[in-house]
């Protein structure tokens, strides 16, 4: 019977959500460094600050703009996400977010919606170009990294915390190693505990961050809040980033296609339909 390892944990609020870090045989200082990394990177990747690296890239639309290593990596991952999801995960969603009134953190309220301004999204590779140290956003387009950044950060942070660690960034998480008892990291997915080893999990939902008839998850085919018959999807996949993409794609595919998609892209999945409580 394996002995339980000493696991250090750290919980904090960042990115407008809650984060948790766990690591075996690591000091609290290591976890605090992880928090600092999330805060610094989050400040660079947010769309809610005009000074952020992402906002400056959006403001420079039409021309090349110098970017840091992390943003370059996230943008390349976003292009991969577009391909993985057959175009359903598209970070060029900011014009639609603004059209539905999601112009600032929801804690500060929403703006007046101008739904007539919403348009189907252009294919991401047509509006985003990335080269070493620089990126270009097409005129009229703008980026919002959303959950992609959380999944990507969870994967990177988990790697940095060592071979036996778990990083949960706002519900997108990555678990590496055998966990504290050698059986994996116990993680609640849709109310059930699953033991994750070298896997990630994420949840996409329209049950939160919604106001009136609107919510934050845009269907790129319409440019409007998605209405697919699914309201919440949780997925266990190879990593936090992959889980985030799979969960969002499944939700956008709807109840008929989501099980088929998840069977091919996920290790476990929960589908919450619109009429489920």
């Amino acid at each position: 019977m394996p002995h339980s390892l000493a696991v250090e944990s750290h919980h904090f609020a960042a990115l407008g959500t809650n984060c948790s870090l766990f690591a075996a045989d690591r000091s609290r200082g290591d976890l605090l460094e992880g928090e600092i990394w999330i805060r610094r990177l989050g400040a660079r990747l947010t769309r809610f600050s005009a000074d952020s690296e992402l906002s400056q890239l959006n403001a420079a639309a039409g021309g090349w703009f110098g970017i840091g290593e992390e943003l370059e990596a996230v943008l390349r991952a976003s292009l991969n996400a577009f391909e993985m999801s057959a175009g359903l995960v598209n970070i060029a969603v900011l014009p639609s977010m603004i059209a539905i009134g999601y112009t600032r953190p929801l804690s500060e309220g929403v703006s007046v919606a101008t739904l007539d301004a919403a348009r189907p999204l252009r294919a991401l590779p047509d509006v985003l170009s990335v080269r070493r140290g620089a990126a270009r956003v097409a005129d009229g387009s703008a980026l919002d990294l959303g959950g992609i950044a959380k999944g990507w950060m969870a994967d990177r942070l988990c790697e940095s915390l060592g071979p036996n660690a778990l990083a949960n960034v706002g519900g997108d998480l990555r678990a590496a190693g055998a966990g504290p008892d050698g059986k994996g990291w116990p993680v609640a997915v849709a109310g059930t505990t699953l033991m994750l080893r070298g896997q990630g999990a994420a949840t996409s939902s329209v049950r939160r961050r919604r106001w009136g008839e609107a919510h934050h998850l845009i269907d790129p085919r319409s440019g409007l809040p998605a209405r697919t018959g699914l309201e919440e999807v949780s997925v266990v996949a190879a990593g936090g980033f992959e889980a985030e993409i799979a969960a969002k794609t499944a939700l956008l595919l709807g109840p008929e296609l989501a099980p088929v998609y998840c069977a091919a892209h996920a290790f476990a999945w929960s589908l919450g339909a619109a009429d489920d409580d």
Binding site: V7, S9, G16, T17, N18, S20, F22, K150, L166, N168, G170, G171, D172, L173, P180, D181, K183, G184, W185, P186, V187, A188, V189, A190, G191, T192, T193, L194, M195, L196, Q199, A201, A202, T203, S204, S205, R207, R208, R209, E232, S234, V236, A243, P259, V260, C262, A263, A264, A266, F267, A268, W269, S270, L271, G272, A273, D276, D277
Partner: protein
Amino acid sequence: MRAVLLKTGATVLTFATTVTAAVYVTSHLKNPAAPLRPTVLSAPGSATFSAPGGSLTVGPSVQPSAVQPVTSTYAS
């Protein structure tokens, strides 16, 4: 005479290749009974059961447990 023989040989070879290819293609039609969905759907070891707010399907590479979770995935 030699040129005529070469042309005739090339024509016969072309004709034979065409016929052979046509016979092969018509005898290897796509199997209309081929499954349209990934076989993983019926993979042994996966189980679906009801969960709060929907259903949960767990594949063989993920083990459910009664252990208290240290954290959870959620929408934020």
